[in-house]
Amino acid sequence: MTGNSGGPLFSFSGVTGGYGATTVVRSVGGEVSAGEACCVLGRNGVGKTTLMRLLTGHLPLQSGSVSFDGQPLDGLPPDRRHALGLIYCPQERPVFDNLSVRENLTLMAPAIDEGRYAAFFAAFPILESRMTQSAGTLSGGERKILSFVRAVAESGQLLLLDEPSEGVQQENVERMAGFLHEAKAAGRALLIVEQNLAFALGIADRVIVMDHGEVVLAGAAADMTEETLAAHMHV
């Protein structure tokens, strides 16, 4: 897929929405270009997950717009966005608990493509050893890894990950970071919600900090120190 406008692969502006009549996210904007990572930071409950649901089509926008590769996504259901190349890992319930690990990885592909997963199985051998077990028997961190692998192994150009490192052991968080660097190098765009500052700053090119559903700080990651960010996140 090639950006037909030369602009950012993914951009959104004035994104406003929430649950029913309740507005949680107010006028949030941002963009991610190919080969770039944008991290969304913020305290618990400020609306990061809600923003992801609005961008992926799980919640309707009350106002604002979202576009991918120059094309507006208004009203497109999640499966159509997936077909365009938006790959989403939700924060909670990231896998199908009632399906086996293998079924989780091959649900949309007829037969497992070993080549596609080989590098991931090498990095996370636990997955390969649990292939026939139901995903519901995995620990929280292992489910996050399974979800991460499913998403990163797909071919879509944009990855939207909601707290991928939550509950994952440090060594595996580092391996995840490795895969994300590779994805960037391959020209994919990443939008990542994180609480783990070190992990986030290790891959982010841009940072958006949210509070009370709004953007309170945004800019290049290189211009921000952990102290500035921490100050904005723990007021």
Partner: protein, 284 residues
Amino acid sequence: MDPILTTNILNVVYEVSTLAVVVLGLAVVFGLLGVMNLAHGEFVMIGAYCAFFVQAQNLPFLAAVPLALLVCAVLGLVVERLLVRPLYARPFDTLLATWGLSMLLREAVEAVYGRAFRSVATPLTGSVDVFGADYPSYRLLLTVVSIALVAGLVWWFVRSATGRRIRAVVNNPELAGSVGIPVTGLARNTFVFGCCLAALAGVMLAPLLPVNPTLGLDFILKSFFVLVVGGLGSLVGLISGSGVIGGVESVVSAFLDRTYGYTTVLIIAILFLWLRPNGLFPRT
């Protein structure tokens, strides 16, 4: 074996397996869409009238199968689009709407055929000897077809890619859309599939039932009881629920009479609602 006992056992198996076909359609729709289609029994009724219609035209009985599937598929598509989809995630409204639909369908059929009981001639007459018992061939055939149908569908549900995707949507609808499953289309197809299964049951059962516009009520009630007893969680629950309800009803009806059969089943359902509201195999 004692022929009377054999006949009773066959009757129980017949009752349980045909009931399972009806409940399967209702339960799959409920599992995937969260919609309890109170007009499900009316699709059975329409299937039965298709059998009557075909015979009145002097066409072979089997012609009723494609006719009923076509009629109910079209009807199911329209109902899904105009009624079920707009009320998605509003379970109480959906109950009211499908209840209204069930009345509408009964009235419509009554307007065409009246209230009189119609009979459909059995396509397969005579009886066969089963371990010394003389059992009607058509009932036996129906039992075999129903068991094959339920077993085939369960197998498909467990093994096919589409079955896996349906289970994925039931487990985690949000994730399902995001991995690329067209949830809306799958829900529509599932609803239509449920209607077609009801229609098929209607055709098959027509020769053994007094065909009339209120025929569906009996099925929706019994299907309800099955889901109450078995629980809404799984196919095992559905089949065991059909076993308890269909089995108890046919046994009690055989030894006392049909009214006692109904009463017993009703009491069992009430006891379950009271003491074990999630059924034998609750949804986790």
